[in-house]
């Protein structure tokens, strides 16, 4: 109850009182009694004031992107019969969000609400639990500490960084290659798909008169927009590939998966997310981002089982986005086989480490592996983007030189 300082004051008062008795100094005795009494009175007042204090935490936004500012408001209410003195608040935060937030609230009169706030700027994705909140009720002389703990915790979701891939390209990188890439990937909307017999209820404007003339039956054209295409984003979470959670390459991979996934969702695709250790499942855009928010690396060494599972769910009207480190030659074959059943295929290969920072032999090795993977995948009909972890996907998304081989073969 008494803080260390309060105990010191009390003991000093007692020592003064003993000295006053020894010396026969009534003045000193008065001082001693007053000083010794002060911490006891302060403790009594603090205890009365701390009887009914309510605290509630509110977040300005529970889902934010990295770098956004979140305001955390603390609502305090004093339901005690007397005014409180100082309230020393400590809202404990997860380590990535920084040190615990500390605030001091001045006196709150009885029955009065007060608000105080602090801001957070989360820099990395994740699910963060804010709290618990600890309130130390003190007195005006700061001699007492009466600790109240409020165990309520609030979740803050910091979703991965989502790049706007639909934005206009940088003029320096060509006028419209980004749109072209999007068309490649989303070659479904408003495009001819098949011809079928007219059924009651079909739009008469879609009757294809040349086919009617040829077959003698009412035929209509069905384009892909009437079917709901799906997009599978597969993220290779192996620690042996892109590294462990929160390493630059892994986080770049999460951001790439999120950016492409959001783009697919915005184009009307049914979105599915698969990882090395989780089978592909259909998700809404929000749940997709939530899943990526909490994603972490997997310790499995082989990607084979995951690719086999992915292959079993393939279909021609499903676009595949494969996010991984440049695969080793032994894995290329199974990757190409797994992707064979999909429609459009995009591989985003991220170097585990920036090649420029590697020794020459290691740099040559990793770049050679990426080149080989690009060549093999492009020959199999894949679109390939290779990124160092420090580069944003947007910078390569609009670059036409990314798939020179695909255009040749």
């Amino acid at each position: 109850m008494l803080a260390g300082r309060g105990v010191t004051v009390f003991v000093t008062g007692l020592a003064m009182w003993v000295a006053a008795r020894l010396l026969g100094s009534p003045g000193l005795e008065v001082v001693a009694i007053g000083i010794a009494a002060l911490p006891l009175l302060a403790a009594f007042a603090a205890k009365r004031g701390a009887r009914h204090i309510l605290v509630r935490r509110r977040l300005s936004d529970v889902r934010v992107t990295p770098g956004s500012r979140v305001t955390v408001t603390l609502d305090l209410e004093n339901r005690s019969p007397i005014a409180t003195s100082f309230l020393l608040l400590e809202d404990r935060l997860p380590t990535p969000l920084g040190r615990a937030a500390r605030l001091v609230i001045g006196a709150i009169r009885e029955g009065v609400h007060e608000q105080a706030s602090y801001t957070l700027v989360p820099q990395s994705r994740g699910r963060y639990l804010l709290g618990p909140l600890v309130v130390d009720v003190s007195d005006p002389f700061a001699l007492t500490r009466l600790r109240l703990e409020f165990p309520d915790r609030d979740e803050l979701l910091v979703t991965p960084e989502v790049e706007d891939l639909g934005a206009a390209p940088d003029p320096s990188s060509g006028p419209s290659f980004g749109a072209s890439r999007a068309r490649q990937l989303f070659r479904t909307g408003e495009e001819y798909y098949t011809m079928r017999q007219y059924q009651e209820g079909d739009d008469l404007r879609r009757i294809h008169w040349p086919s009617v003339a040829r077959t003698g039956e009412l035929m209509i054209r069905q384009d892909e927009s009437s079917r709901r295409a799906s997009g599978l984003v597969f993220f290779d979470t192996r620690a042996a590939g892109l590294g462990r959670t929160h390493t630059p390459a892994f986080e770049r991979g999460v951001s790439v998966a999120a950016s492409v996934g959001v783009l697919l969702a915005h184009h009307g695709f049914v979105l599915r997310l698969g990882t090395t250790d989780l089978p592909a499942a259909a998700l809404s855009e929000e749940r997709f981002l939530d899943a990526l928010t909490g994603i972490s690396h997997a310790e499995v060494r082989s990607i084979g089982p995951a690719l086999a599972h992915m292959r079993s769910g393939s279909s021609p009207d499903t676009s595949l986005v494969f996010v991984s480190a440049p695969p080793v030659p032994a894995e290329l074959g199974s990757l190409i086989r797994a992707g064979a059943g999909f429609g459009q295929k995009l591989a985003v290969l991220i170097y585990p480490t920036d090649p420029d920072r590697l020794p020459p032999e290691r740099q040559a090795q990793i770049e050679g592996r990426a080149s080989q993977a690009r060549l093999s995948l492009a020959r199999a009909g894949w679109d390939v983007i290779v990124l160092p972890p420090s580069m944003r996907l947007q910078e390569r998304w609009h670059t036409p030189l990314e798939r020179p081989l695909a255009r040749i073969v």
Partner: protein, 264 residues
């Protein structure tokens, strides 16, 4: 909604200044009782306030500069209060220094032969001014520079206790109460600084956190003062004789020699 309202440095300095001045004044008034007449007490009060003012004025400077300034102030105070005739327009001269050295040599002897309350003769007044000045300066340094308010109270409280022990007068808790008020203000100023070190301060009070905390502090301080002032009634043996007699000269005390030779 509350707003960030930490006590400004100016407010905090004002609280510190007021606490230092009150402590100096309480010490001077309590200690001045050892001299006959109120004019000497007033002179000591002036010296104490000057010492506190100088200490606060140099609070943000280095301790060395502050000590030098305080030393110069002490020399001026000694010249003006103890040896006014030796100064040149209030400034100490060589004569002042010589007079002070001569008086210092006689302090011990005069302390032995004079009974309190004493005439404000040179050697005793010199000792009083120097001790009071040093007590006030060190109290400020310990309480506000070093952040140890309780340690800071020791030098001035020693002077208060000294006055009590040498005076054979009716118990007057007034001086003790005044000193206690000053001591509580010192503890409050330090507590305010410590609380503000915890984190940003929020308050909806118009006068800021010092104002709102001040209200609570006043209540607590008045209660503590009330308890202290009423203590003569409730505390048994209040104002009784010293348990240890420091006043009697050593040669007059009754002593037992452990090396007693018991012979027939």
């Amino acid at each position: 909604m509350a707003h960030a309202a930490g006590t400004t440095a100016r407010t905090h300095r004002l609280i510190g200044l007021f606490a230092a001045l009150l402590l100096a004044a309480a010490t001077a008034l309590a200690f001045g009782r050892v001299f006959l007449g109120t004019s000497t007490t007033m002179k000591l009060l002036g010296a104490a306030i000057a010492a506190a003012g100088l200490a606060v004025a140099f609070e943000r400077r280095s301790l060395l500069l502050s000590t030098v300034a305080s030393g110069i102030g002490l020399a001026v105070a000694v010249g003006l209060i103890v040896f006014p005739g030796s100064t040149w327009y209030g400034l100490p001269t060589g004569d002042t220094l010589r007079a002070a050295l001569d008086a210092a040599a006689l302090v011990g002897e005069q302390a032995r032969i004079q009974a309190a309350p004493a005439e404000p003769i040179g050697p005793l007044l010199l000792a009083a001014v120097v001790s009071l000045w040093a007590a006030v300066f060190s109290a400020h340094a310990l309480a506000f520079r070093a952040g140890s308010p309780l340690l800071g109270l020791i030098p001035p409280v020693a002077l208060v206790a000294f006055a009590d022990t040498v005076l054979e007068e009716f118990v007057k808790p007034l001086y003790g109460a005044l000193f206690l008020a000053a001591a509580l203000l010192v503890v409050f100023a330090d507590g305010l600084a410590r609380v503000q070190g915890w984190g940003p301060v929020w308050s909806s009070a118009r006068k800021g956190v010092a104002g709102s905390a001040g209200r609570g502090a006043r209540r607590l301080a008045l209660t503590a003062l009330g308890v202290a002032v009423l203590s003569p009634i409730v505390v048994p043996g209040f104002g009784s004789k010293a348990l240890v007699d420091f006043g009697t000269p050593a040669e007059d005390r009754v002593a037992i020699d452990p090396f007693v030779s018991v012979e027939a």
